[in-house]
Structures are given as C-alpha cells and as structure tokens.
C-alpha cells in the first residue's frame, strides 16, 4: 500500500432551519433518492448529535443523519438514514470520521444505551459504499428486492448491519 495521507481535517456543524437548504443541496448531489419535507423536518428536530455536517476548509462536503429505532422486544438500533461525502472530497477519511461520530453516539449518547445494532440500506450497485462499511465491521444480512420506488436501477438494496454490545444504563 502506498503511504497514506493524513485524514483530512474537518469541522462538524449542526443543521437548523437557517441552513437546512445546504443539507438539501448536499443530499441531492449525493443520493438518487429525493427526500421529502418530512425527512428534513425530522433532521431539524433530531436529537442532539443525530445529524452532523462535515465542513472541509469551510465548505460543507458531507453529512450523516441517524435515527433511533426501538424494536418490540425491547432492544433498539441506530439506523443510518444518510451518510455521504461529495465525490471530489472522498477517500480522505471524511466518511470514516462521520461513521466514527456514529460510533461515538453509541458510546456516549443517553438515548443509545440499549442499542445493539447499527443498520442501513445500501443500493446493490454501490460497491464503494458496501466496501466502506464491510471494512468497518458491517455485514450484508439481507437482499431486499424492489426496495426503491423510482429513480434507481435496479430497485434493490442490501440491508447492512453491525452488531454491537449494548453499553447498558450507567455502566
């Protein structure tokens, strides 16, 4: 392997109703799916830290957004709704830093004490992202056919998952 450059230095930012459109522009560039207003309203109201913007040299280049989901059996998971970095800014560790942020939520966010899994859906053709997650401990657990309604061909995706040890309350 060639000597790797240092990870690009980024700063994290938050989303609010004043800069929401910047997140929209970012997502439009990143994902074939067009998210609706409800999605962005959720982004604004999300718990502290559940949406993170990544700024590289003052430019917004990436973002992550997760959702807390509790299952019927009392366990719960963190679901990654979006995690992406603008194409020209990839492969400099920015995506990894966003994912690290998710791991940190698991380790310290009060809502996440019982979380036993991180999960996300990835388009079956998105080999770059699949490799990225596999290299960080995720596994493909399911192929879901006809997952996407429109704009994506084929319309299928994988469910990726990483099991984690729930940190439990107070321990």
């Amino acid at each position: 392997m060639s000597p790797r450059q240092e990870r690009a230095a980024i700063e994290f930012g938050t989303v609010n109703e004043k800069n929401l459109v910047q997140l929209q522009r970012l997502n439009t560039a990143l994902f074939p799916v067009k998210y609706n207003d409800k999605f962005y309203q959720e982004a604004i109201r999300a718990p502290d830290g559940f949406v993170r913007l990544a700024y590289f040299q003052t430019i917004l280049v990436g973002a992550v957004m997760v959702r807390f989901e509790s299952n019927a059996n009392g366990s719960s998971r963190l679901y990654i709704m979006t995690l992406g970095v603008l194409a020209p800014y990839r492969e400099r560790g920015i995506g990894a830093q966003l994912l690290d942020h998710v791991f940190e939520l698991l380790a310290s966010h009060p809502l996440c004490s019982n979380v036993s899994e991180i999960a996300l859906h990835v388009h079956t053709e998105n080999t770059e992202a699949i490799a990225f997650y596999k290299n960080r401990g995720f596994e493909v657990v399911e192929l879901i056919e006809k997952y996407y309604k429109r704009g994506v061909d084929p319309p299928d995706c994988y469910l990726l998952s990483k099991k984690v040890e729930p940190r439990g309350n107070g321990s």
């Binding site: 450059q5 690009a8 109703e17 004043k18 800069n19 459109v21 910047q22 522009r25 970012l26 439009t28 560039a29 590289f56 040299q57 003052t58 430019i59 917004l60 280049v61 603008l86 020209p88 800014y89």
Partner: protein, 851 residues
C-alpha cells in the same frame, strides 16, 4: 420669564417650562391652561403652550398660538425665542435665526438663546455669525471649557489658525490636569486637535515640536505617528519620515497609506528618478515581505507596480500570491485582483495562469510545482479538491469580468456541479445571468443563495435587489420584511425608518419601469428626505462633540456633512427623479393614469399631440396650485416627522399620488434637483446630460450650452459629450423654431461659444467620425458615435451607415445596449429601433426583459 404675572402664576409658568424641557407634554399643557384660565392673553404662556403642542405634532395650533402669544407680547424675548424654536423644529433655519436675533435684541446676554443661535449658525455654516456669538458666550461665561473650545473652533473654520491655537493654549494653561484615564484622553485629543490646526496652517515645524511635547499624553498612538509622518514628509525630513513610516507599518502592514508614505520617504531621500521608482518600490515591498511573510499587501502591491517589461516577474509573483488564496479558500480573490484588469496584458496573464492551474489539476491532481528560488514553498502531493473548485469559481468571475459570458456560465456551472454547497457560487452565477440580461433566472439564483443561509442579511439584500431588477415588487417586499419584522412598524415604513436607501432607490427604479410614477416618486423622495435628516442630525453632534472634546472627529464630521449629498444614493435617486420628471413632462397623460386619454393622444398627429399635451400640463399645474392652497388653509399640517404619533411619512399618501399631484411644473422640480447635482456631482457626466435635457425643454439655451461645455470638460470623448454637442447644434443652433423665439443676445453667445468651439472647422459628422476612429477600443464611445451619426444623418444612405455602426455590438454590455435602445427610441425611426433591438437580442439571446 413670566414676569408680568403674579407670583403664584409666575411659579406655575416656571413649572410649565420645566415640564416642557423634560418632555412631560400633558402636564405642561395642563399647567399652561391653568394660567390661561386667569390670564387668557398672557403672551409667553400662549407661546409656550404652542411649543408644547408642536411637540405632540399639532402643528397648526402650535403656529397659531405662538403667533398670537408674540402679538400679545412683542417685547418678550421668551416669545421670540419660542418662535425661533418652532421654526427650528421645522428646519427653517433662516427664519429661526431671525427670531433668535430678535430675542437677543431684547435680552442680549441670554445664554440659552445665544447657545441656540450658535447651533444654528454652525449648522448653516454661517461662520461669521458663529464666531461673534461664540465670542459673546465666552465673554459671558469664561468658566466653561466648551466655550473656549467652541471659540477656538470658530477661529479654526474661519482659518484664523494662529488665533485658534492661542485660544487653546490659553485654555489649556488654566486647567488643572486630572489623572484619570478619561481626562488624560481628553487632554491628548485636544492637543491633537491643536496639532491638526498647526499642520493645516502649513506650520509643520511647529507641529512637529508640539508633537514632541505632547508625546506622553496622547493615547491614540497611531494618530500621533501619522501626524509625525505627514509633517516630516512635508518638510522633506525623509530619513526621519522613513523611520516613523516603518513604525506605522509594523503596527499595521495592511494599510496602503503607510506603504505610500514609506515609499515617498525612501524615494525622495534616495532621489530616485521617475522611471526607476516602481522598481525601487517593489524592492521595498520585497524587503518588508521577507521579514513579514504572512502579510498580503507587500505581496499585492508589486502586482500593480510591474509593467509589461517585467512580464515574467509579474507571472511568478501573481502565481505565488494567488496560491495563498486558493489554498485557504478565500472567495474574495476576484475582487482583490480587480485593479489588475486595467492592463490588457495582465488580464491575459491571469487567464493563462488559471487555465494552466485548471489543466494541471485535471492531469495530475495538483497545482503545477513552483521553482523554489522565490516566494512560495513547493507543496508536494495532491492539491485539495477545494482548490479545483476555487479555480473554477475564479475563472467564472474572470470571464464574466472580461465579458465572455458563455465562458463564465460554463465555469460557474461546472463549479456548482463540483461543489454544490458553496453559497458564493450561486451569487456569482446570479451576477453572470444578470449580465446576460437574464434577470428572471438571476433573481431565482439569488434566491437560491439566500435560502442557503436564511440568517444572512447580505444574501437577503442581494436577493431583494435582484427581484426588484425584474420588477417583482411583491416578492421583494416580502423578502426584505424577513429582516425588518421586529419592532412596531412594518413594511415600507419600517424600511424608511431604517433609512434603507438602497431599497428605496431600487424600488423607485422598478416603479419607473412599471409606469407607476407616484410610487416611484414617493420612494425617490424618501431618499432625498433621509439626506435632510442626516443634515439635521448634526445638531446632536454640535453640542455633544464640544462637550466631549473629540474635536478631530467633529471637524471631520463637519467636512463629511458638507459633502454628504455627493453620496451615491443621493445622486442616484436625484438622477432617477429628474428622468422621471422629464418623462412626466413629455408625457403628461401618464400622470392621471387614464388609458383612454393615452390612447386618444396616441391617435393624434405629432403637432396635435404636442398641443394636447401642453394643454394637459397646464390643467395639471392648475390643479396642483389649487391643492397647495387647500393645504395652506389646513395650516402647516405637513407633519415633518412621523415620530411621536400619527402615521409615518411612507404611510400617509402611500402611493405618492398626492405628492405627484402637488407638482406644478415637473421641469421646475427637475431644475431644483439639478442644482443639487451640479453642486454635489459636477464630475458626473450624467449630471450635465440631464441638465441639457431640462434646459432644452425650458428653452434655456444658455443653460443648455453650459451643460454641453461642462460635459465636454468632464469627459470630452465620451458618448455623452459627443451626443450633447450634436444635439446642441441640431436642436438649438440649427433649429429655426427655437431660434426664432430666442433673444438675439442669447443666440449670439450660443453660436460663438457653442459647438463651433468644440467642432471647429470640421463638419459635424467629421467631428463625430474623428472621435470614433480615435476611440477604437471603447465600444461605448463607438456606439455613442453611431447614435450621434444617426442624429446627424440627412439621407437614407447616411442613416444605414450609422445603423451599421450601431449594430456592431462587440464589447457592449447588456446595460449599455439597454440604455442605447432607450435613447434611440427617443429620436430614431421605429424600424431602426427595432433592428437595433434585434441585434441586441442576437447578442444576448437569454435576455428576459423588454428592451
């Protein structure tokens, strides 16, 4: 005060004055009424009551009562003083002064009245009166420090420098210096003021010695050093000046004045010949840069100084300079380099450098390596992806600036595609689209930028402006309201209260385009009123600054206020208003807004129409006069200020219809505004263009002549001057209809001092052609000459030759084209105007506005 009253009422009267002074208007009125119950004719009480009513905006009654009070007690200085205060509150300074002087005749040593008079005198710059009032005040109250300082100021503004200095010295000798910070500061300030007087008097030697003496008490160290530097330079004590300038540079390396002083000192010390000066200056910059590698200005200045002989050096320096910006992602690079665009060869060098960057980034992912003998350290490895973006953004701005709009659009679209989250890119795109004449998409793009950061007032302002440019008034108002919402007032009144002049100018222009003259005039008038307010606002400073001894800033303020109407908003609004008045004069049917009338007029022959329009103007003038009478009957209900109750100025007569109806003669109103422009914007050729338009409509040929000569003096070879010369010849000198009615003396002057002086023995078209050949590079002048030729053209052949010139739009901005189209339609044949517009549409296919 109230001396003719029995003692009980006398004390009530004193109470009344106190209530008035502490703005307890209700109580004041009650007290006045109490006295008046017993002594209904008591003059001073009547006058005071009037003053109280004036404060609660009951103007009519106020004037009535004050006048009545005065009539009842002509010998009372109180009544005269009150009378003056009333005028003063309506900004009728001359009348107010007169009343004060009358009061002083009765009570010559009344300090309060003397003070009020002095305020008016400095406000109106009546310096002779001011000095005498201040002298009296000083004699009466020598114990008050501000009486000394004000008397010094009076001498200063009258250029009695020695006297002013003496007064400050006498005063300073009497005070016991306090040790607290504030009094030390004030003492230093006063001494710096004295020093500025010495300098202004040209007594640089004394100024320097004085500075030496006050070294320890001056807090403002930069001001101190700056004064030293200026005086040393004036005395050509270059070595010392150099030292001081260096000290200043050490304090602030990014101040260009310090650099200039430093250069001047060194260059005159070394006696460097003119042609070697730029080189030497560059060396000095380089020395500074070596010891202060982080400072930008010493790196930036050589780029301006280098000439074409040092092209290689220029490119090298430019390269390392711009890398600094690119690597940090500072979007202001394009603005920073703007001054370089004056030299064609530098423009080419910039373009070559940046397209080189682009290619290198594409091929190797990095900027080209620099040979490291000089400035920038070589960075190995890949450039940041942001650099790619900033290079594309710069290239977009570059092509926009040189008028290659296709190139500009190509780069901005690529930049946005590369990084769609940078707000500046959308702003740049909006600007490019505007230059394409695509005002609709420009506004959409500015709105996109605004939405990306709703908390940013600047983006909001820009978007509002773009909306107004395409007449989207409602959107603009809703938009700008997002930032004016808090507070009680809303909408345009809130903007008026905030003195938001850019908005009023823009919306005024929009209403002009939309043919809503009332609304347009209302907004343009609003701008004019703000300037009246700015001037009025000085009153606060006259007392404040004298008390605080911040004399240097006070004197600066007086100078600024003297020129305040030369500010761009004033001249812009005045010019727009004059153009509107001209249009309303030419097409009076617009004023009543009746479509039928307009249609009826359109069907008439030219001669008949002129007659009908002239009739219409006369009847409008009559109506205006009647309105005025009615208003007078209602008293002075004009309500100068919206504050303190009642509707604001924008809220009364919101559509400006009253304002419009009140104008008897649009040419008189235009002439009034022109006098301001001629005073405050004499270097603006447009001033003289408009002066000509107004003069010719008023048959004032000498004024027309003067306008032409002034335009020619300001910009001899401009489109404006050429066209004015031609028009003076065609419309006045050779126009029988006009000349037959003019006085022979006038004609004599016009023909001897008129175009013959400028055109000489050449034919008119010979004159125009010569300028056209001379100014091959300026498309604006070339097109202006084309227009002039069309004016002159006597036959079809000449007309079509002129049209050929006009249809070559290379290098012409959309703005120029639009202005030309509008000028042409005032005299050219319809088919000529149409074919010109065709040419514009071909050049600017994206254009979304009617030409």
């Amino acid at each position: 005060m109230g001396s003719s009253l029995p003692s009980k009422e006398q004390s009530q009267f004193r109470q009344l004055v106190k209530f008035y002074e502490t703005k307890q208007h209700k109580k004041a009125q009650k007290t006045a009424d109490g006295i008046l119950k017993k002594f209904p004719n008591h003059g001073e009480t009547l006058a005071m009551k009037g003053l109280v009513l004036n404060s609660v905006n009951k103007k009519e009654e106020a004037y009535e009562l004050v006048k009545l009070g005065l009539k009842n007690d002509l010998k009372s200085h109180v009544c005269w003083h009150v009378y003056g205060l009333l005028y003063r509150s309506d900004r009728l300074y001359v009348d107010a002064s007169r009343a004060y002087l009358q009061a002083l005749r009765i009570d010559p040593e009344n300090v309060q009245i003397l003070r009020d008079l002095a305020l008016l005198q400095i406000q109106t710059r009546h310096f002779e009166g001011f000095i005498s009032t201040r002298r009296t005040l000083l004699t009466l109250k020598p114990g008050q420090k501000n009486n000394w300082i004000a008397f010094a100021l009076a001498n200063h503004v009258l250029k009695n420098y020695a006297e002013a200095v003496k007064i400050i010295d006498t005063y300073s000798a009497t005070i016991v210096p306090g040790d607290d910070r504030e009094s030390v500061y004030e003492r230093g300030e006063l001494q710096l003021y004295k020093n500025s007087i010495l300098e202004e008097n040209g007594d640089h030697d004394a100024a320097l010695k004085h500075l030496e003496r006050i070294k320890d008490i001056v807090v403002d160290r930069s001001a101190f050093l700056e004064a030293q530097a200026r005086n040393l330079l004036a005395l050509e004590r270059n070595k010392e000046a150099e030292e001081i300038a260096l000290e200043l540079l050490e304090r602030n390396m990014e101040n260009s004045v310090y650099h200039e002083q430093y250069h001047q000192a060194v260059l005159s010390d070394e006696n460097v010949a003119e042609e070697h000066q730029p080189r030497r200056k560059i060396e000095l910059c380089d020395e500074l840069s070596k010891s202060n590698p982080k400072m930008l200005l010493p790196k930036r200045m050589p780029l301006d100084l280098l000439d074409q002989g040092s092209k290689e050096d220029f490119v090298k320096r430019l390269d390392s300079y711009v890398r600094w910006f690119l690597e940090r992602g500072v979007p202001a690079l394009s603005v920073d380099l703007k001054s370089l665009y004056r030299a064609e060869w530098k423009v080419l060098a910039i373009e070559k450098l940046f397209t080189g960057f682009e290619n290198s980034l594409k091929e190797s992912g990095a900027l080209p390596a620099v040979d490291n003998d000089t400035h920038s350290p070589v960075k190995s490895g890949n450039s940041s992806p942001a650099v790619v973006f900033w290079v594309m953004l710069f290239l977009a701005q570059h092509y926009d600036r040189i008028g290659d709009l296709d190139g500009a659009l190509k780069y901005i679209n690529r930049a946005i595609e590369h990084t769609p989250t940078v707000i500046e890119a959308f702003q740049v795109k909006a600007k490019i689209l505007k230059h394409c004449g695509n005002l609709t998409e420009a506004a959409e793009c500015a709105d996109a930028a605004r939405k990306m950061d709703l908390a940013d007032r600047y983006l909001n302002t820009k978007c509002t402006k773009y909306n107004l440019r395409c007449n989207k008034v409602e959107e603009a108002e809703a938009n700008v309201a997002l930032f004016t919402r808090d507070g009680e007032t809303r909408g345009v009144q809130a903007l008026y209260d905030m003195q938001c002049m850019w908005f009023e100018c823009e919306i005024g222009d929009a209403y002009i385009r939309m043919k809503k003259p009332g609304l347009a005039l209302k907004n343009l008038k609003a701008v004019e009123r703000h300037f009246d307010d700015f001037i009025e606002d000085q009153f606060d400073f006259h007392t404040y600054c004298l008390r605080k001894e911040t004399m240097r800033s006070y004197v600066n303020l007086l100078l600024v206020e003297d020129e305040i109407r030369s500010s761009k908003y004033f001249t812009r609004a005045a010019k727009a208003a004059i153009r509107l008045h001209i249009d309303l004069h030419d097409n009076p049917q617009q004023k009543d807004g009746s479509a039928e009338q307009a249609a009826a007029l359109a069907n008439l022959s030219v001669a008949e129409r002129k007659k009908a329009q002239s009739k219409l103007r006369k009847s409008q003038a009559k109506k205006a006069a009647a309105e005025e009478l009615k208003k007078k009957d209602n008293g002075k209900a004009d309500g100068k200020k919206g504050k303190g109750g009642g509707d604001g100025w924008m809220e009364t007569d919101p559509d400006g219809s009253e304002l419009l109806k009140g104008i008897k003669d649009h040419m008189v109103e235009a002439a009034r505004l022109l006098r301001e422009l001629e005073k405050y914007a004499p270097r603006d050729v447009e001033t003289h263009e408009l002066a000509f338009e107004v003069a010719i409509r008023r048959n004032k040929y000498l004024q027309a002549l003067r306008a032409v000569n002034r335009a020619a003096a300001v910009q001899p070879r401009s489109s404006a001057s050429v066209n004015l010369v031609v028009r003076l010849r065609l419309d006045v000198e050779d126009n029988e209809e006009k000349t037959s009615s003019a006085l022979p003396e006038v004609l004599e002057v016009v023909s001897t001092c008129g175009t013959h002086k400028i055109v000489g023995d050449r034919s008119l078209s010979g004159y125009v052609n010569e300028i056209m050949t001379d100014s091959a590079q300026s498309s604006d002048t070339r097109l202006g000459c084309g227009m002039a030729l069309l004016r002159i053209a006597g036959n079809e052949n000449e007309r079509s030759r002129a049209m050929e010139v006009l249809q070559d739009l290379s290098g012409a901005s959309f703005k120029t084209c639009r202005q030309l189209a509008s000028s042409l339609s005032s005299f050219a044949k319809t088919e000529e105007v149409e074919s010109f517009k065709e040419a514009v549409k071909e050049k600017y296919p994206q254009c979304t506005v009617p030409l």
